[in-house]
Symmetry: C2
């Protein structure tokens, strides 16, 4: 099997969700955002098959679009996804749910499909009704703008505090034939535990059934979005949808399909980290020598959520004491390790060995390095996990204190 | 029973640990801090009884002083506590433990007591050896400076990034007679879960046995220090010691004794919050209507650890959506509630009712209000818990990125 991936640095020029055959997309300005920027995106699966799968936030407080979309995707069939920025439609009472229903009905009528096959996703402020008439008036123009090259426009219309659109694609040349994956995502704050993005749509022209689509999407999110923890805050609206058109006519082997979906999800997840609110460093925390994957992840997450550690990295300070203090908060029953066996390296320099100081801190130069690689060896097993986070900066505080989001 | 508490606003003029009879204390400059500020404190129990109890961090990575002091206090007898700032003596290898041992021996020899009755507590940077000769050379002067009015000096010598010393005292006039409690604490960052202060010494001249001292201290810390969560980061060195001299000759009723210790611990905990690194708002999160205390505490802690919520409060933004998003991360098995029954009030204004918007956000004016009171009603039971935290500010980022601590 030969896999060809678009270069990661061409993300902004990737066709995104319209990279695979059988998809059209658009992004238009409905008028939901005060800024006048595009705020309504549509992704349509033209088939021949209309397989859909989705995973959602594990927050107990969820937006009405999540409630609707869980139901819409339950039968494994999705024809279209409509996404808006400019309002999350969360905690808006029964009228907020009616707003979602009307949105799906309007999109369904315009496209000649059942409202029950329309997934709805919204992002923005919690607790305020959407200007629903404004949104519905945008559906016509969004349908009119649908195009087989509309992926980038759709990716632009779902941005909120994102500074760049996030798109990715992949062409897989396998023994069975050539098939494609595309995707777009948005998310900068509230990247979180249960599921780490706000909104993401992944498309493929592979021929798959709903069961494989669901399995592939769950596997991919577990390995990618779930391993991004920007600020420990879980959204009420996280939605990742996978649409499969079957338009390539190629049925990949299941393992190859899972790998392809995972590869695109990984690219999008990495782009989310790179655009995390106010970050100056992208931090990969790799925990090795763990007894289990869960143990490694728990240790990595404890470090990723330490404001003291994250502020130190912002200050280009390889403060391994704060790393050990975070590791030590993980209970024995969750992760086995002996404190006096812990090794910590930062960007390849082992500054802590066997729980004590080793190479001088000054050997680690973080200034001007966007990527920081922290390696923690628990010496308790063979499992390895990498979790991505970012530093805690003045810009993060500014973005999240000066504006309601 | 009549209880007379010193006013909270006189904290800086409280005699602190020397308020009760039978104690001497001192604070001197040994030379551990580059600033030349006092850095070595000594608290001595002159008896007639020498009851001691202590609670320590639940971090698995602990300082050598914690390892030593756990052993020293195990028999319920403590004659003296020596505390230093300028270095935490954590992750310093076997030599670091010898440094603690030598410190206790030097203090023991100077005071004519067993080293095994000396509790040692250290605070400062992790991972660097203390300049032990400098520290030991300070023990003589610290002993020479011991005084029955030395409480404030001792409180000053344990400060690190604290901007003010923390002291408190209480005189209890009970049916059995008059007895006293005094205390000092330090801590500004790393206020945390398992135990929320860095270092704290509480003294009393009540006549109590080791079992009651231990019970009272554990009850008090659970209700006070454990309900402060400034930045979610657990220290490796948290130590709270209780010393009872019996010098009043008064044996209080157990419930009254627990209440007295708790009152002083509460004052000190409140002072810690008020001096949290870089904070501009002290935030009391009260969760009511919970099925259990643990459920209420879990919900309060989820909100207290939301950087998005804490940044919003810094911006004087009563962003209840971020509160609900945090509440929703608590699993059903931990805290029962229905998302559409949640009420949230901030400073007495109910801005969220039944999971949706209620009073206008603009009715909540946080500007210029140091204290912010968040009330979350789960409508699931009758238990109530208050947890204190603070906002996430530019000053916090500065303090924790510009200096190694």
């Amino acid at each position: 099997m030969t896999t060809t991936t678009t270069a990661e640095d061409t993300a902004q020029s990737s066709p995104g969700v319209t990279a695979p055959l059988g998809f059209r997309a658009s992004g238009v300005t409905a008028g939901l955002k005060a800024s006048g920027r595009p705020d309504l995106a549509l992704v349509v699966n033209d088939g021949p098959s209309h397989v859909g799968a989705a995973v959602f936030t594990s927050n107990r407080v969820v937006g009405h679009p999540v409630t609707w979309s869980r139901q819409a995707v339950a039968d494994g069939v999705v024809h279209a996804v409509v996404l808006n920025s400019g309002g999350a439609n969360v905690c808006t009472g029964p009228d907020g749910f009616l707003d979602v229903h009307r949105t799906a009905e309007t999109v369904g009528a315009a496209l000649g499909i059942s409202p029950g096959d329309v997934v709805v996703a919204s992002t923005g402020l919690i607790g305020e009704r959407l200007p629903i008439d404004t949104l519905l008036a945008g559906v016509g123009p969004a349908c009119a703008a649908l195009s087989e090259t509309g992926g980038p426009a759709a990716a632009g219309a779902i941005m909120t505090t994102d500074t760049v659109p996030k798109t990715a694609d992949l062409v897989v040349q396998a023994d069975q034939g050539t098939w494609r994956v595309g995707g777009m995502a948005k998310g900068a704050g509230m990247l979180a535990p249960g599921l780490a993005t706000m909104l993401c749509v992944i498309t493929t022209d592979a021929v798959v059934d709903a069961a494989l689509a669901d399995e592939a999407l769950r596997t991919a999110t577990r390995q990618t979005f779930d391993r991004v923890d920007s600020d420990g805050c879980m959204s009420t609206s996280d939605t990742v949808v996978l649409l499969a058109s079957g338009a390539s006519g190629v049925a990949p082997d299941p393992a190859g399909f899972v790998a392809g979906i995972t590869a695109v999800a990984a690219q999008l997840a990495r782009q989310l980290v790179a655009d995390a609110e106010g970050a100056t460093h992208d931090i990969a925390i790799t925990v090795t020598g763990a007894q289990t994957q869960d143990a490694a992840l728990a240790v990595a997450r404890a470090v990723a959520r330490s404001n003291l550690f994250k502020a130190a990295i912002y200050g280009n300070d390889p403060n391994w004491g704060r790393i050990l203090a975070s590791v030590g908060t993980v209970p024995q029953e969750v992760a086995a390790f002996e404190p006096d066996e812990l090794d910590v390296s930062i960007n390849g320099v082992m500054i802590c060995r066997a729980g004590g100081a080793h190479a001088p801190r000054t050997d680690v130069d973080l200034a001007g390095q966007r990527e920081v690689h922290v390696l923690i060896d628990l010496h308790a097993g063979t499992e390895v996990v990498t979790l991505w986070t970012n530093d805690l900066t003045h810009a993060y505080v500014s973005e999240n204190s000066e504006y309601s989001t």
